[in-house]
Symmetry: C2
């Protein structure tokens, strides 16, 4: 059994055939109070396909927009590619999180989405979702909220990049992952980073070397323990203070 398959099996708490109503992630991706038969209707439009292997693309920039996607297991990164070829990672997506709304503006995706490890997603065709939304106002509102949250998150990142040094930025990402893990009832103090130092640096506007140095320094100062991709937060209050500072 490969390492990827292991980690996939571990992070995917649902078997392939499970529906939304049985999915342990439904409180994250669809935290709306829907009737049982409404959930069934939602469930009926959702397509589940075979998992993406590490490095595989879910879709690419300029692909036509058809659907949004909920992550079921694994982890993915979204990225923009500039004309000159250099890439900007715009986000990391963990189980329960929804991505793909970038494609709505022009019916074409601006981001490419790539699996960081073996990952599976639920594909939600947008036209079907829109039809469903007409009779389910709370579902409609939920999607507006998801998008609004995406906007405010991006704005937070802009603030992070403009106002914070390398240590704050790294601390912020670590705490963000911790928080999202705790929402999935996983450990919020010990976890596997799904992305490389390079990806993390790209996302945060830092070089690989700086990311590595900051990890070493945080470890030396007893705020975290790092062993390859395994990270343990040893002093969350200090990390929180770092982010604020």
């Amino acid at each position: 059994m490969s390492k990827n398959a292991q980690s996939s099996a571990k992070s995917c708490s649902n078997s392939k055939q499970v529906g939304c109503d049985d999915c342990s992630l439904n409180t994250i991706c669809m935290p709306v109070s829907l009737h049982v038969d409404d959930i069934d209707r939602l469930d009926s439009i959702i397509q589940r396909s075979k998992p993406l292997q590490k490095g595989e693309f879910l879709f690419r920039a300029n692909d036509p927009f058809t659907s949004v996607y909920a992550v079921r297991s694994g982890a993915l990164k979204t990225q923009l590619v500039a004309e000159n070829g250099d890439e900007q990672i715009t986000g990391f997506y963990l189980p329960g999180e929804v991505l793909g709304m970038d494609g709505l503006a022009n019916n074409t995706h601006t981001n490419s989405v790539q699996a960081l490890e073996t990952s599976s997603v639920c594909k939600i065709p947008f036209e079907r979702l829109e039809e469903l939304s007409v009779t389910l106002p709370t579902l409609q509102r939920h999607f507006l909220q998801l998008m609004s949250r995406e906007i405010t998150q991006e704005q937070q990142i802009v603030g992070l990049l403009n106002k914070k040094n390398a240590e704050s930025r790294i601390a912020s990402v670590l705490l963000s992952i911790a928080k999202r893990n705790s929402q999935r009832h996983l450990s919020e103090s010990a976890f596997m980073l799904p992305m490389s130092r390079k990806d993390l640096g790209n996302f945060l506007g830092l070089t690989t070397e700086t990311v590595s140095r900051v990890f070493s320094r945080l470890q030396k100062n007893g705020l975290i323990a790092v062993e390859q991709k395994q990270v343990t937060l040893l002093d969350t209050p200090a990390l929180t203070l770092l982010v604020a500072g």
Copy 2:
């Protein structure tokens, strides 16, 4: 007549009582094909109030979310305020542009919005808009697109901050304003910057000094002419190249 009143009268091509159907900005803020009576229905929910003076707030962070707003004249800035007090400007909004969608996520605004000069806005109560959207799917879709565009714009800014130097960032903002002016059939090579050097620096993650120096350098190299807030783009291709480089 004050300078502000002049610039307001100039940039506001609509008198106070004009409706959406007569508003010269409707191709920007509501570029959806609506029937005449649908426009009237939209028009009927929109509230127009007295202009904001420079420095006045449209709303503040933590205010309850009730409405989104279309800029009719003037210019506004949106900003986040961190716990430690420092501010991050998240956007500048010009006539025809819609703001306030940040409040949808938690029914509370995360941004504060402040007038950079005398400005008037159309207030669009969101609940009324939602009701209207049920029977006007194109209106619904339009709002999703507005929000999607906001997400991709923020992502572009993240890329700008992470990958580009001071000159590129400034050039990028100048070209952005030029483009938005041209959409309003104003000059795209000569315009008044509505924001201070400080605001521009805050937005772009630069100090006032650096903004000032870059302006001087771009002027010395013949790419722009600057006289206080009046900017003239003298070599748009070179500026475009700067942004790409």
